[in-house]
């Protein structure tokens, strides 16, 4: 049996008039990089606080390395947290900051200093141990916070929107470094973010949250290509949604009735009933344009190209659909030589690329 770094069971927590966590259960495997992804108010930070011990949930339990930690204080947990505002000790040197946890554990002065040096080397800040936090840049403080949290060898490291305060370029760079540091130390990392690109770039597993519930969890590829819910499809990357109804259900597939006609799609893990409202989710790069009907393709009608956004490697075009005003396909178009604004474009998608999902709200 593989060990679980974190096993959260039926966690519910309400603030006055607001449910932050609604019966959430989740497991985090040891030694992996897990990302909690969701919009603000989705409960991802609350869940992190529950795991870190800063919040005792109203119901449910948290097991860390198989032991019940639900009501254990943060100091007594094998977890440490990297705070969004870094929360470095402003009156201490960088070395003393990183060694603080070891000092609290009664580790001798010489040994602490050595360990602090090694940790600073690990995060690429070797030689900075004599400086004070206010002498460092935002990115450097971020690294110090990371070194400080890792210095006590936690079994789970919690990162609360750690890159939120950095500019885009530094963010991308730190993402790569965080991942390589995680590989090097082998500690389980749990990272909270609202940035789906960051989540995809960094996570072994992504947990998509919304309204205090887990919408989907799995590898970035699986969530992107076969999202489990309408919300997950919309939040992880861009997607166009065509509304429809289930007409017929058979083993492994459903026949849908949509404004663009009827077609069959594989049904995935969810079970559908005839008459149920659904959406068909198609990623911009999964639209096939032009007159190329063929096997394994579904016809999605035609639309007039309304706006074009240049994205470097390609254009993104937004279409007004001819048959269904509520369907606003966003389609990836060629970098050059493609259709222009006002042109009518016929749309297709491969059966295996279009995903049928239960409609939401």
């Amino acid at each position: 049996m593989t060990t679980l770094a974190v096993d959260a069971r039926n966690i519910t927590h309400r603030y006055s008039g607001f449910t932050a966590l609604d019966n959430v259960s989740l497991t985090v495997p040891t030694g992996a990089y897990t990302v909690f992804l969701g919009p603000s108010g989705s409960g991802k930070t609350t869940l992190l606080s529950v795991i870190g011990g800063f919040l005792v949930p109203q119901s449910g339990e948290v097991l860390i390395n198989g032991r019940d930690m639900t009501e254990v204080a943060p100091a007594k947990r094998p977890t440490t947290t990297v705070f969004q505002d870094y929360a470095l000790f402003p009156h201490m040197t960088i070395g003393a900051n990183v060694a603080f946890g070891l000092r609290m554990r009664g580790v001798g002065s010489a040994e602490r200093k050595n360990k602090a040096k090694r940790m600073l080397d690990l995060v690429g800040l070797g030689g900075a141990d004599g400086k004070k936090p206010h002498e460092l840049s935002g990115g450097q403080r971020q690294r110090v916070a990371l070194a400080r949290a890792l210095a006590v060898d936690p079994s789970v490291l919690l990162l609360d929107e750690p890159l939120g305060a950095l500019d885009l370029k530094l963010r991308r760079q730190m993402q790569a470094e965080l991942k390589s540091i995680q590989r090097e130390v082998g500690t389980s990392f749990i990272h909270v973010t609202h940035d789906q690109e960051e989540a995809m770039a960094i996570g072994d597993t992504i947990v998509v949250m919304n309204h205090g519930r887990i919408e989907d969890s799995g590898s970035p590829e699986r969530i992107y290509l076969k999202p489990a819910t309408h919300f997950a499809a919309g939040f992880m990357g861009q997607s166009s949604f065509l509304k429809g109804k289930v007409r017929d259900v058979s083993a492994g597939s459903v026949v849908l009735e949509t404004p663009c006609g009827a077609f069959a799609l594989p049904s995935g893990p969810a079970a559908y009933k005839p008459g149920e409202a659904v959406v068909v989710s198609v990623r911009p790069e999964h639209f096939v344009t032009g007159e190329i009907a063929g096997d394994g393709m579904i016809a999605l009608g035609a639309g007039r190209l309304r706006t074009m956004t240049f994205a470097g490697t390609h254009h993104l075009g937004e279409l007004d659909h001819e048959a269904c005003a509520a369907f606003r396909p966003v389609v990836q178009l060629p970098q050059s030589g493609g259709p222009g604004i006002g042109d009518t474009v016929r749309l297709w998608a491969r059966v295996e690329d279009a995903v049928v999902l239960k409609a939401e709200g």
Binding site: A73, P90, F100, G101
Partner: protein, 262 residues
């Protein structure tokens, strides 16, 4: 040069204001150097004999030592209590928080005379004799609200997060307070200590009501004044003033340094 006249008027006005504020002190200091028996014009020459007289007056020197003792002792206690109450109110969920905060700062609005009389009656009832200790307690009463207000205003949510980080790394509550909270608030603690010192140092009415045999310097000066003006009172007044200036200067130094850093 159309703006010359308004400029001249502004300068005159500002000078008049500063004269009004500082002339009494300047006169006091000037005539403490009077080479004669009366601290009134004309100035007969400059001499340090009255400072020597202060130094040789054992009652004055004793009162000065008493004043320093009361100021340092009461300020330390006021800062400690102010810090603890600020920490408690800022970091924990307490019942009737707003009311407790109001009660802690309320003595700021009560006159020293009322506080002194109240303490005098209370100590009489309890059988606590008039003493420097009683006066020191009085100074804690007047300075605690100030220390609380200064320290409380400097406790931010960002610091609460830093304390959380310390707890997360294994610090016990007393370690958080002594290793993280107090050092982070160092400038506020320092500022409230020196402000308390300044107020305690030249406080008269409470000390007058609550001391008897051992008295503080302002009380001793008051009894000197009863036997008439003489340059010695000016000299000791100048000493009091000089020490106040030093305290205010130290305070400014701390506050300014802190501002520049943040």
């Amino acid at each position: 040069m159309r703006k010359t006249w308004p400029m001249v008027l502004s300068i005159l006005y500002a000078s008049a204001i500063y004269c009004f504020i500082f002339l009494p002190v300047a006169v006091l200091v000037l005539f403490s150097f009077q080479d004669g028996r009366f601290p009134i014009p004309p100035l007969k020459g400059l001499s340090l004999r009255w400072y020597e007289a202060v130094w040789n007056d054992s009652r004055l020197v004793e009162a000065l030592v008493n004043s320093v003792t009361v100021a340092v002792g009461s300020s330390l206690v006021a800062v400690l209590l102010g810090f603890l109450s600020a920490y408690g109110l800022a970091r924990f969920a307490l019942p009737a928080k707003g009311l407790q905060r109001a009660l802690l700062t309320a003595p700021l609005t009560v006159s020293y005379l009322i506080i002194g009389m109240g303490l005098l009656i209370t100590f009489n009832t309890l059988g606590v004799p008039k003493s420097l200790l009683a006066a020191g307690i009085g100074h804690v009463v007047i300075n605690l609200p100030l220390c609380f207000a200064i320290i409380y205003s400097q406790m931010s949510d960002h610091q609460a997060n830093i304390e959380r980080a310390a707890r997360d790394l294994g610090a016990a509550e007393w370690q958080v307070v002594t290793l993280i909270t107090a050092p982070m608030l160092w400038p506020a603690l320092f500022a409230s200590f020196f402000l308390s010192m300044t107020f305690s140092w030249d406080e008269f009415i409470i000390s007058f009501l609550l001391t008897r045999f051992d008295v503080t310097l302002p009380v001793e000066i008051w009894s000197l004044l009863r036997s008439g003006l003489n340059p010695k009172t000016n000299a000791v007044g100048s000493v009091v003033f000089a020490i106040s200036i030093v305290l205010v200067f130290l305070l400014e130094l701390v506050v300014l340094r802190n501002r520049r850093r943040s």
